[in-house]
Amino acid sequence: MRRVAVAAVAALTLVAGCGGGEGSAPPVDVGPSDAPVTLRVLAGSELLDLEPVLADAGEATGVRIQLDPVGTLDGAQAVASGAVEADHDAIWFSSNRYLALQPGAQARLGTATDIMSSPVVLGLRRSVAERLGWVGRPVTWAEIAAAAGARRFTYGMTDPSASNSGFSAVVAVATALAGAGSALTLQQAESTVPALRDFFAAQTLSAGSSGFLQEAFVRRATGADPGEPVDGLINYESVLQGMNADGSLPEPLELIRPADGVVTAEYPFTVLAAAPPEARDAYRRLVEHLRTPDVQRAIAERTHRRPALPGVLPTPADTAVELPFPAQADVVDALLTSYFDKLRRPSRTIYVLDTSGSMNGDERIGALRRSLAGLAGADSSLTGQFRRFRGREQVTLLPFSSAPASPETFTVAEDDAGPDRQRIADAGAALQPGGGTAIYDSLREAYRIADEQIAADPDRFTSIVLMTDGENTSGTDLDGFRAFAGSRPAVPVFCVLFGESNAEEMEEVARLTGGRTFDARTAPLAEVFKEIRGYV
């Protein structure tokens, strides 16, 4: 038992250490506690819904199973660098396609066995789908892009650097709109044709994890969150069917499976080449069990994913075309870079940064300076590369202590982003600690700045990131902010818990504004700053 606990802690440390992503979900640990073998699996957080199935599988095969959730790119990075081998025996993500493109990654993978599948599709509120005339007939990505460009509907999607559903959607729409019929070429991946920009123009909700995306969608649909309801979601067919089935939506979603093709996640459970023989054997037994017809049926019923085993369910009548997925790393990287810096709706991010006296010291103000430098380009890791300040992004730094200091705003150039990013890093490096902590006065100031900026240029994702290491000591208190927040349109506040910050108050700020909190007390501040990029 002691060894298991140590392994779990080590696994958590790795997950935190390699970059948050969707790693904020708690790990799963199932199967007999006295099992002679434990299979340690680095997994996508969407696999957590298999917990009951895995618990049964663990009992049936005598294997204890640990799933450590992590984001797509973080997982790819851990495999490519070999870090994954230190404390895992297997990986299980919605897809190995991006991962296998990383240099050196393929050689670290052993047998991969597909367990289930689900295509990434568009779910639209039924009334909106009817209004657009998309019910009961084939719809193409080109039609969807045209309607998006004309703002005839809005949708939410996960950040493609954090989650496979968003990533698959970007590949699908780019491949379909290129219209070539084969895998994207480098030139096509760099394309910024108007139809692509049109398609992404209608995205009004982004998230670093599927879970948050679904919750935010439901909260906005039911009015629990401030902010406009969103018309649809791009996500796995299985997730959308699950949302329809659980009755939390005021209006069901109509699933649009574009006629020109989809990208499907096939969930390959993959043992690592370096896994010891006992773990390989445990893997073999588990996979055999998971692919028996009864278990396949149970997976389909519980998760709405399609079974991998032929003949378990009737073949779907629709002949949804599978789009080719690019098999060259440079093509995929070019596509993601183009998406972030050129195609997606640009962001506006206001960083409200605590520079009070308690921030003194390398592990506080130093960490903050390094975090900003990381986002400005100093972080060259796989995730760092796609979570930098993006082309066209408007970044405002609002340092505060006893009162908000004067804000500095930067707009990052679309093509040559380097110099602007450097200016943000320089401004971060100049931050000096001293004074008290006026959290809510500073938040109000951030909202004032947001109002001004929105009035001047409305078509951006606008968010506030609040980082404070302590309690509010001057100016307005939480009650004051509560009254203020209730009376104005929402800009979500993403709160970083750091040092001695008041977690309860921060949770409430996040809840009031439709944001969420991120914990930098247990993970490095720079990783948390990077994780938040998936939401802004």
Binding site: D114, A180, G181, S182, D318, T319, A320, L323, P324, A327
Partner: protein, 367 residues
């Protein structure tokens, strides 16, 4: 207060049980030594082999295990890619290696010279597809009317022109904005894709087996798009065939697989082939000759049994492979009232292992 007493009495019961068990053991040993025991069959010899993964279902079949057990052999197999078996897999500790192609076996033989190898069965490369796709291919001249022959030359012309399904005249059955391309596995990892490379390069080389580096360098760029344009490719033929079976026409309209995979499904008690599933044969095609290279006497015995034991040969045929004796193959279909697959005439040899390796390197595969 009662707990310790209870524990003590528990301990006493345990002591009695242990004593009884000990008596039982002594009694058994005494009786055995007095000769009151049936003789056990000799413990089976454990034989381990590394095999091409498309044979995993055959070696996993309980009837196959039992047939070997009847000859005193307990088989343990590890599946691996045929290319890996020939190059990177460490063979010490194995009794035999059983790659899926003769080039891979030749390469192995060069490193592990043995008296004889066994080629107990083979399977031609085939195209698993759907009736509406076959109709379209007929209209496009790739399949001749009334035949199950897939004309590779015509297909390569279609592919070279970058034809999409929705550009085929009169296509209302499958108007996908997607290139007309055979779905294959990843050539760097999988033998079936390497065999496809053999077929396509033969045709691209004006009907000649690619035999040297110069020809390989000339021909490979012409066949590269057949793989590249598909994008990401599945690592094994099992995965590809399963996609064909479960995902329907939209995902895999036509897949290059081993004939045995399709036939095994057709011959199984509970087939899951699509209702409109069809099997075509490329012309030319290549036979994947599953060749067993024995590394120990026990491994040699496995090769011999697979070739000569009537029960094993019948099981080979039931798994859709073509045994050396054609009568067993015919019988498997006759027994199920199915039509025996046609004999194939346009069959070519695969390039040598080193030539194939050369072409794979040109495709960007690392060893």
């Amino acid at each position: 207060m009662t707990a310790p007493a209870g524990r003590r009495s528990g301990r006493r019961v345990l002591s009695w049980l242990l004593a009884l068990a000990l008596l039982g053991v002594i009694g058994f040993v005494v009786l055995r030594d007095m000769g009151g025991r049936e003789p056990d069959p000799p413990a089976p010899t454990v034989v381990t082999g590394v095999i091409g993964s498309e044979k995993a279902a055959f070696f996993g079949d309980e009837r196959v295990r039992a047939a070997f057990r009847a000859h005193g052999l307990e088989l343990r197999v590890d599946p691996a890619g045929s290319r890996q078996i020939a190059t990177t897999v460490r063979l010490d500790g194995y009794d035999f290696a059983f790659p899926s192609s003769s080039p891979a076996a030749d390469k192995l033989l060069a490193q592990h010279p043995v008296a004889r190898t066994y080629a107990p069965f083979s399977s031609p490369m085939a195209v698993a597809t759907f009736a509406p796709i076959v109709d379209l291919l007929r209209q496009a001249g790739v399949v001749a009317p009334g035949s199950t022959t897939f004309d590779v030359r015509r297909y390569l012309d279609l592919a070279a022109a970058g034809t999409r399904w929705d550009q085929l005249p009169g296509n209302t059955a499958f108007p996908a904005r997607k290139d007309v391309l055979l779905s294959t596995t990843a050539p760097c990892q999988s033998n079936s894709a390497a065999m496809y490379l053999g077929i396509a390069s033969y045709v691209a080389n004006a009907d000649g087996v690619v035999a040297d580096r110069a020809v390989a360098t000339r021909v490979t760029p012409a066949v590269q798009p057949l793989f590249r344009d598909q994008g990401y490719l599945p690592p094994t033929t099992e995965v590809l065939f399963e996609d064909y079976l479960s995902a329907g026409m939209g995902r895999v309209p036509m897949a290059l697989v081993y004939e045995a995979q399709y036939l095994a499904e057709e011959l199984s008690a509970d087939p899951v082939l699509p209702a409109d599933g069809q099997l075509l044969y490329p012309s030319p095609t290549i036979f994947s000759r599953h060749t067993l290279v024995p590394l120990t006497p026990a491994g040699d015995r496995v090769g011999e049994l697979l070739t000569t034991d009537p029960q094993l040969v019948a099981l080979v045929a039931e798994h859709g492979f073509r045994p050396t004796d054609p009568r067993a193959f015919a019988a498997a279909f006759r027994d199920r009232g199915l039509l025996e697959p046609p004999p194939l005439v346009d069959v070519v040899e695969p390039p040598s292992f080193d030539t194939l390796e050369g072409m794979l390197t040109l495709l960007g595969c690392t060893p």
